[in-house]
């Protein structure tokens, strides 16, 4: 509490109404030493010499502050009588007598008096005092101008406002008002929004904001604290997988586990051999799957979340390794093992072009963000860039990629990402023509790029997943463990609302889901009867996840709740 010398005995708590307080002010202000910062003797409980009363279990909430912000909230809500009653009953005044007086005088437009009172509040910061004085004098100035008392206005400006030496620019504006009074009206109105009443309340707002929070409790302080708490609850909710959620103050927010896909909705059987790769289109309307049977299947995701076969793309002479969707989802690229890259039309299922390089097998592929080019990794470790017609535009030779490597391109087309060494990933900046490396201690088996291109999820041989931040400071920011990987190439991905989750396949035939921020393993989903090689989370529907397995099937996972559509009665919030 303030450093008030307790030379006088504490005043008895006097039950007075706010109106009567004005009469007591003079008495009080004589007794209270000017240097007190919170000159609030009337409120001091008898027992509190030094010890502060607290509320709450942890003893961190000061009772006085707590009551004051409640009082403030009551007044803000319009419950003036209740607010006053609270002040009376608790004996804790919202404002110190000086501040209450100031507010009163401001209300009554008594500028001279309010200036005097301002200095009695005992603000320690001189600048604040000056600025507040400026505001008050400004009002005085405007009032004088209104009365057309130009001389007095000028006098105020010269002898009271200018010596403050703050807000010099504004002073000039005020000076111009004297010369041109009509402009002044415009100025006053423009700076203070509309009618006199409005301008007055805005000025009060400014004044209140200027004074330190302990002297003048900020408006809506209680609401702000509650909103902060809700933010914390929401961040802590690991199952939070939905945009529309209601928060209740009665119970801590905690989404149930049933917000994350965990239930097999469909088993898609179309492949005749292991399914190695699958991915949803950007718009979430299609799913493409690639298999050791040399075939790529395009599935359509219907409104009802039903997934139906649309096309079977044949042509590759080798198992299909990877698929990439064009930026507008109208075309697909598929790559065969050390073979060729094929471009397909999603609507017709036709093969539009075959990309190959004499004597060199292709091992990966990616679309250029503008949809006008193709990037492909070669068996000879180089990376080539072609235009849609197959003309080679650029080629990066040397060890840029390995026999098994994913390929990713950032959405701005600037960076190409590829595994270039057993334990290193290359971040190749096309424009700046320079390269950075992500280096691991273990062998890297695959990776996945986040939607915002700021993070890379790296799969390691030792069954760990590392989340790397690749923007600015390149470093590992999270680890995920639990899934099994001994012999195969297993893929993982980002997904869910705001990509708050990490999903992965596993050799134990389950799908694994972690909470991205905390690294906590949330779910393991059994169902497949073979290793799960790849997972893809629908970018447009955080409740849909697809998995590809050695058991030749694809599973579509959804919420374990019949009413999961969620916009209806069940609600999405509290369990």
């Amino acid at each position: 509490m303030g450093g008030v010398e307790n030379s006088e005995p504490p005043l008895k708590r006097v039950k007075v109404s706010l109106g009567d307080l004005k009469n007591l002010v003079d008495e009080v202000s004589r007794i209270v030493p000017v240097s007190s910062s919170l000159g609030d003797l009337m409120a001091r409980p008898l027992c509190s010499q030094g010890a502060e009363e607290t509320v709450g279990m942890k003893g961190v909430i000061k009772k006085q502050e707590f009551v004051k912000i409640i009082t403030r909230a009551l007044y803000s809500l319009g419950y003036v009588r209740t607010g006053a009653l609270l002040e009376e009953e608790s004996g804790i005044r919202l404002h110190s007598t000086a501040v209450a007086l100031l507010l009163d005088q401001v209300q009554g437009e008594k500028w001279e008096e309010s200036l005097v009172t301002l200095h009695k509040i005992g603000l320690s910061d001189e600048i604040t005092v000056k600025r507040a004085s400026f505001l008050l004098l400004e009002q005085k100035f405007f009032d004088l101008l209104k009365e057309e008392n130009l001389m007095a206005a000028l006098d105020t400006l010269r002898n009271e406002i200018v010596p403050l030496s703050v807000n010099v620019g504004r002073v000039r504006e005020l000076a111009s008002c004297i010369i041109c009074p009509s402009q002044c009206m415009a100025l006053r109105i423009s700076s203070q929004d509309g009618t006199d009443a409005n301008s007055r309340s805005r000025f009060k707002e400014k004044l209140e904001k200027l004074l330190p929070a302990a002297v003048m409790i900020p408006e809506r302080r209680l609401e702000h604290l509650v909103e902060q708490a809700l933010d914390v609850q929401r961040d802590a909710c690991v199952f939070h997988n939905t945009l529309d959620s209601e928060f209740s103050l009665y119970v801590d927010h905690q989404c149930g586990r049933n917000q994350i896909p965990s239930h097999t909705l469909q088993i898609l059987q179309a492949h005749k051999d292991e399914v190695w790769f699958l991915q949803f289109s950007h718009n979430g309307k299609y799913l493409a799957s690639a298999s050791r049977d040399h075939i790529t299947v395009v599935w359509e995701v219907k409104e009802s979340d039903l997934v139906l076969l649309k096309h079977t793309l044949t042509g590759h002479q080798q198992p299909v390794l990877t698929i990439t969707w064009s930026p507008d989802d109208s075309q697909l690229l598929t790559c065969g093992v050390e073979e060729v890259v094929r471009r397909w039309d999603v609507n017709t299922g036709e093969c539009l072009h075959v990309y190959e390089k004499a004597g060199v097998g292709l091992i990966s592929c990616g679309w250029f963000p503008d949809g006008k080019g193709i990037v492909s990794g070669m068996k000879d470790k180089s990376i080539c860039l072609w235009d849609l017609d197959g003309r080679e535009l650029e080629c990066w030779k040397g060890q840029r990629t390995l026999n098994i490597s994913d390929m990713a391109i950032t959405d701005d087309g600037k960076r190409i990402i590829s595994i270039c060494r057993e334990n290193a990933i290359l971040l190749l900046d096309r424009e700046a023509k320079f390269e950075r490396l992500i280096e691991e201690k273990q062998v890297i088996t695959s990776f996945s790029l986040s939607e915002d291109n700021k993070f890379l999820l790296v799969n390691l041989m030792n069954e760990e997943l590392h989340l790397w931040s690749i923007e600015g400071d390149i470093k590992v920011v999270a680890h995920y463990r639990g899934h099994r990987r001994m012999r195969f190439l297993i893929r993982s991905c980002f997904g869910g609302f705001e990509q708050a989750y990490i999903a992965s396949g596993s050799e134990d035939s389950q799908v694994y889901i972690w909470h991205r921020d905390t690294g906590k393993l949330l779910l393991t989903l059994p169902g497949h009867s073979g290793a799960v090689n790849c997972v893809s989370w629908n970018p447009m529907d955080p409740r849909m996840l697809a998995s590809a397995s050695d058991d030749r099937t694809i599973r579509i996972w959804g919420l374990d709740d019949l009413n999961y559509k969620g916009h209806c009665s069940n609600g999405n919030g509290i369990t």
């Binding site: 050791r292 012999r487 050695d550």
Partner: protein
């Protein structure tokens, strides 16, 4: 080739095997040609096993490790685990987890590949010696 196909066909559920490619003088799995080690990483060529010669390597790749067990070898008790080719699953040798005698500690973390199970850098294969050790599990020499 025939044998290779036979092995390949047998693998019902295999997934996309992840294997690394080595550069240099490479020893590979005799059955499926998956790279397993580099000549530069040979520590000793004087090891023996039931099928004949074996080499001690400081590093091997593309193998899966079996269960650990205590084995009594000519040089004493060791904790070892068999190692298998990641692609075709055939056994290629064993790896030393722990050596219980001080002078054998240098083997820890290293692996032995049986010459009979791997193809050499020049593609050469090794045929089981007729003078194989009588009776006994894989032994070795220092």
């Amino acid at each position: 080739m025939c044998f290779h196909e036979h092995v390949h066909g047998n693998q019902e559920k295999m997934g996309r095997i992840f294997s690394v490619n080595l550069e240099g003088k490479i020893y590979s799995c005799k059955h499926c040609r998956t790279h397993v080690a580099l000549m530069d990483d040979i520590v000793s060529k004087s090891f023996h096993c039931r099928h004949g010669k074996a080499y001690l390597f400081s590093k091997v790749v593309n193998v899966t490790v079996g269960t650990k067990e205590e084995r009594m070898m000519m040089t004493g008790l060791h904790t070892v685990a068999d190692i298998f080719c990641v692609r075709c699953g055939s056994i290629v040798g064993w790896t030393y987890e722990t050596a219980h005698q001080k002078d054998q500690k240098y083997k820890e973390g290293k692996s032995v590949l049986e010459r009979y199970k791997i193809s050499g850098p020049d593609g050469s294969n090794y045929w089981a010696s007729h003078e194989a050790h009588v009776g006994g599990s894989d032994a070795e020499d220092v």
